[in-house]
Amino acid sequence: MTATDLSLVKHEADKLFQRKRLIRFAIPAVIAVYLVYIVFAFDLPGLAQRANLDNAVTLASDSWSHKVHVTRDNRSGNITYAVEGERKGTYPEGQRPHWVSGDEVVTIDLGGDHIVRYLPENRTEIEIPGFPLITVQAEGRALISNLPEDLPDWISASDRRIGITTPEGRITLTGARTEVFNYFPGWELFWFTLDSPYHGQSFATILIGERLDPDRSNISGAVSDWWNNAMWRHKDVAWAIGETILMAFLGTMGAAILALPLAFLAAKRFSPVMLLRAATRRLFDFVRGVDALIWTVVLARAFGPGPLTGALAILITDTGTFGKIFSEALENVDDKQIEGVTSTGAKPLQRYRFGVIPQVVPVLLAQILYFLESNTRSATIIGAITGGGIGLMLTQAIQTQKDWEEVAYYIILIIVMVMFMDWVSGWLRGKLIGGKE
């Protein structure tokens, strides 16, 4: 190549790279500009300012720990002990946690030398290492305390309410009541509630030890008490998961059964009437576009809340989706097989059964099974919004904003459920499509 040719090639290459650089810069630049717009449209700076990290901490720590409330009603002087402060978690009469002692003066040992004493006459003493002894007296609505003027930020105090937050636990005092929250790791009462004889027993004791409840054998008693646990409601949870999977199953399979014949109507080669074809397709687009959630709302009037409504909503939406996918699969079937069957004098249904179905079944099955898994997720969402299944339990648990351990539990269950359905669908796919017709 001559020198001039070469410099020409070089020049061309320079231009080429200029162009390429421009494109390479342009794409990230467009994305960046869009993201900047989003930062302002979604008000991210404001959000960062407002985001409540305390909530996040509460949530995170609550999800793997539980607290026991020790509450003194300042009017009656009664002291109650309750896990999570719930009636169902209340210690039976005469029982109390081992870290509480004393009769006249009730001493609550929070651990780490943090000690709270409930004294007579609605007085309270709080010992916190490295801080002077705090004494509080409740007088009607008001509180009289020895707290100094400038307080550390873990104490919030007014003359009506004092809140103390320490790593060992939390203490709140108002005129009406004094309450101590002691935190412990773990999901308390997950197996048995306090009123069950099996609470606090080891696994071995229940399995091979002496009969704990004279009326029942240990194993059946334990299973039944666990199943009916009022705090964790294992029975309801199991039903809820069952309902969710049921919605997904009925919806998906029902949709597949409905969509198959309709797909023939929408496929060009099986449905010569253009108008019918177009109408069917628009119907598919419509039911698909409306979305399952809205169908649930529409159907709720007719069928009321419950899993059937959710299943029908999934069914309607997926009839559209399947209809579209199936009719595309039908468009692509191979004519030769149909013709072969036709040439024997087969009746129309037989023609479809042997000429078409064997060809589309693998595609159809794969799609149906894939949707079975993804509909388990949809069913969770539908349940959360219109009632039923594990989704609703989750929304409720989140709305009460205190049972974060339940929230965590449900989230784990949901993930396990979806992954299980994923596995089932993969397994079935292998079994059904891999095997013979």
């Binding site: 030769k336 040439s343 024997t344 004098g345 087969a346 009746k347 059964r353 064997p358 017709e437």
Partner: protein
């Protein structure tokens, strides 16, 4: 028996078959030759009623085939089996099921929906397969078979129909010479032993000459030759194929014996 009268088929302004007249009065083995696009397939498809004729009639034993509708038409199709170049089997189903499709017309729709066939039919299917030498393939999926075996399955399906006529649309065009011979031999045997009429579209002159009692030549939709293999001289063949003087018969041959002839390799490249 079979009487075809000014049968015409037009696709738009293209006339695929142009006023064809054929009369066949006893079960014979007939070869139809002609180059690609001559209308051979269309003719066969009209006989089987896979395609409707534009004009003219087909009559079989006094019954007007072209007028049949619905169940009567399907009944005719069950009496008139068809074999295709691409076998047209259901590849995902096993061989016996494919053969059993030959009985679909006689069985109730409901039973067949669930793949339920009488045991007698199943036994008969396997006997037919045995007759064609592929009984051992019975439980395999059709797609697992070689081309020649698949075509024999298609013939078995045709036999299962117990038809009066077997139509074969280029049955050996997708096969290698070895398999082609086996398939043509089977068709001939069926014709001779069962006395069924066989009409086969053939791409190659020598196959037609060797296996058929009568050869029909088509060109551009019209029937330009109808006679015995002996009457089918090279000159006639040139006419049928519209070829020039350089026309060599070998160019259309797939006979195994010709394989050893010099120049055959190059020749096959044109087929």
């Amino acid at each position: 028996m079979l009487h075809i009268d000014t049968l015409t088929k037009r696709f738009g302004d293209k006339t695929a078959v142009d006023a064809a007249n054929i009369t066949i009065d006893r079960p014979s083995m007939i070869g139809i030759i002609g180059r690609s696009g001559a209308g051979k397939s269309t003719l066969l498809r009209m006989i089987n009623r896979l395609t409707d004729a534009t004009d003219g009639t087909i009559t079989f034993d006094g019954e007007e085939i072209t007028a049949l509708r619905g169940a009567a038409k399907r009944d005719w199709q069950s009496r008139c089996a068809m074999i295709f170049q691409q076998f047209n089997l259901v590849p995902r189903m096993d061989v016996v099921s494919n053969v059993l499709h030959g009985t679909l017309n006689k069985r109730s729709t409901l039973a067949t929906m669930f793949n339920l066939y009488p045991q007698a039919d199943i036994h008969k299917a396997i006997e037919i397969l045995d007759r064609l030498g592929i009984a051992e393939q019975a439980p395999k999926r059709a797609e697992a078979l070689s081309g020649g075996q698949q075509q024999r399955v298609a013939i078995a399906r045709a036999l299962m129909q117990d038809p009066k006529i077997i139509l074969a649309d280029e049955p050996i065009a997708s096969l290698d010479p070895m398999n082609a011979q086996v398939v043509m031999h089977s068709l001939r045997t069926i014709h001779e032993e069962d006395g069924r009429m066989v009409i086969a579209n053939l791409h190659t002159l020598d196959t037609a000459r060797r296996y058929c009692d009568r050869v029909i030549g088509m060109r551009d939709g019209r029937i330009v030759f109808d006679g015995t293999p002996a009457q089918l001289t090279t000159g006639v063949a040139r006419d049928i194929y519209g070829a020039g003087a350089d026309f060599s018969e070998a160019a259309t041959s797939t006979e195994i014996e010709t394989l050893d002839r010099p120049g055959i390799r190059e020749a096959e490249a044109y087929v």
